[in-house]
């Protein structure tokens, strides 16, 4: 434990300090957004969005290296792809009643596949694993700024519109009868989910991000009686899992993303059994 503290404070380990700050800041958005994703049961929509992010990263790398648009940062591509995917996936889930799961599944796979193809067409070597499973060595000071801004955005929007989001998630039809534009708030929720996913891909990667989005709220739901409580618990749990995971991964030299996921997944399964057993 003390070793870890020393490691974080060691100026040579700037990346580790960044990773811990990133994990802490990200937990705020993750806990809040994850709660909504869990109660609205749109985990698979979030999954599709996160895999489309990979397409955006591939496109950005392609444009940057092959086409020569140096300003087209992968994070910009990821944000664009995520927002476009969020709106598409959202509209599909609202309107394509029968083939919804097929269409979402297709978007999911196509996002991923187009990302790989675009990277294939781009000269140079790219470490795919770092995008898929996260790599804390990639975190920069700029990323911290992005995540902090996202926190402010997410917190601001949810404090302002908490009651509307509550309505949209609990009883969409009734809420629309009260004159609230539920489609707008549903899409807004998906766009915020998309942005959160993009920024967290650095730590846990595209494939694993959904687990970190839904596991803390799933545990929180065992104990939370009200929506805001579930969010607070989720934020704290997410913080606990990312920090513990980062600590363990540093100490044992394992990949950060999978470590975080295995720790939180194990905790969830244990809590699930305890919860069932006591009840």
């Amino acid at each position: 434990m003390i070793e870890l503290f020393n490691a974080i404070l060691d100026p040579d380990n700037m990346f580790l300090r960044y990773a811990f700050i990133m994990g802490g800041l990200a937990s705020i958005s993750f806990g809040i957004i994850g709660t909504f994703v869990t109660i609205k049961r749109i985990g698979y929509l979030a999954g599709a969005i996160s895999h489309c992010v990979f397409g955006g990263i591939g496109l950005a790398l392609f444009l940057q290296v092959k086409v020569g648009l140096a300003w087209f940062d992968p994070i910009l591509g990821a944000v664009l792809a995520a927002v476009v995917a969020a709106v598409m996936v959202g509209l599909v889930s609202l309107h394509a009643k029968e083939r919804e799961d097929t269409i979402i599944g297709t978007l999911w796979a196509m996002g991923m596949a187009s990302g790989i193809l675009l990277i294939d067409m781009t000269p140079g070597y790219f470490n795919l694993a770092s995008y898929l499973f996260g790599d804390i060595l990639l975190i920069s000071g700029k990323d911290l700024l992005y995540v902090a801004s996202l926190d402010i955005l997410v917190l601001g929007i949810f404090i302002l519109f908490f009651n509307r989001f509550f309505g949209v998630c609990f009883d969409d039809e009734f809420t629309s009868l009260r004159g609230i534009n539920t489609t707008f708030f549903y899409l807004l929720l998906l766009i915020l989910t998309a942005l959160t996913i993009v920024l967290l891909v650095r730590i846990v990667g595209i494939v694993l991000v959904i687990a970190l989005l839904t596991i803390p709220p799933a545990i929180a739901s065992f104990y939370a009686k009200r929506l805001w409580q579930m969010m607070v618990y989720s934020v704290l749990l997410c913080l606990f899992f990312t920090w513990t995971g980062l600590g363990v991964s540093y100490a044992s030299g394992l990949s950060s993303g999978p470590t975080i996921i295995v720790i939180s997944g194990t905790a969830y399964l244990i809590m699930l059994i305890i919860h069932r057993f006591i009840k």
Partner: protein, 251 residues
């Protein structure tokens, strides 16, 4: 059109997936009506409610509520949906759920007035001691009552209820209906119901929905009529026939 007419359905037709649900429906509901909507499953009961709410548009015909189109007068209509579609693990207190009735376009947060109104509605349905209880800890009948409170919370002139007595025992049902009867002094009430016999003790009219819509005063409801509505024989239990007021015992 009478002066007190609140709802008019003028020659309404509605089809879903090429199947006609409602055909050439004409209906007028007067202020102070307390009617039960009955009919076979898939006969168009919920469709009728959703048309009145403006959630779906008719293929043909015109709907006027307070002489306006349905989506213009939504704030005057209270709606209680079937609770089966709600997520039973949703973390919300009874107060959280009832306050939804105070959602509106203008205000982002609930005011003290909103909370007072919600308390009043919870009181009206006799659940004051449950205000802070989790919604998912309630029984089916209690959930229905809370959803009625939520509908009342928006101070409606018309109350539409979709199966408020589904999945509750007969005592709870009677309790719910007597609460509604009290509310009917100020509010026009339409409710969808499965069993006609029991509800007809409380309501003033019965609206029979099966492709067509016919409204009868309750006094005219008899076995012959029910058979026509359901297009077949039906067991009918007359709940108003009892051995004595106290019932009977087996000791």
């Amino acid at each position: 059109m009478l002066e007190n007419t609140e709802i008019i359905l003028d020659n309404i037709s509605f089809a879903y997936k090429q199947r006609n649900i409602l055909e050439n429906v004409n209906l007028e509901i007067q202020k102070g009506e307390f009617a039960s909507i009955v009919g076979p499953n898939g006969g168009g009961k919920t469709t009728l409610l959703k048309l009145i709410l403006g959630l779906i548009k008719p293929d043909r015909g015109k709907i006027r509520i307070f002489n306006k189109s349905p989506d213009k007068v939504r704030n005057k209509i209270g709606y209680m949906p079937q609770y089966a579609h709600l997520d039973m693990n949703f973390p919300a207190s009874v107060m959280d759920v009832v306050l939804m009735g105070r959602l509106n376009k203008k205000n982002l947060w609930f005011s003290r007035k909103d909370r007072a109104k919600a308390m009043e509605s919870i009181e009206q349905i006799g659940m004051t001691s449950f205000t802070t209880t989790g919604f998912n800890e309630l029984s089916g009948g209690q959930k229905q009552r809370i959803l009625i409170a939520r509908a009342l919370c928006s101070s409606p002139d018309i109350l539409l209820l979709d199966e408020p007595t589904a999945n509750v025992d007969s005592k709870t049902e009677e309790n719910l209906l007597s609460i509604l009867k009290k509310l009917n002094k100020k509010i026009t009430i339409l409710l969808v119901s499965h069993d006609l016999g029991f509800v007809s003790k409380y309501v003033k009219s019965v609206i029979c929905v099966n492709l067509n819509v016919v409204i009868h005063p309750t006094t005219l409801v008899n076995g012959e009529l029910i058979k026509n509505i359901y297009r077949g024989d039906l067991k009918m239990v007359r709940h108003d026939h009892r051995c004595s007021d106290e019932g009977h015992s087996h000791d």
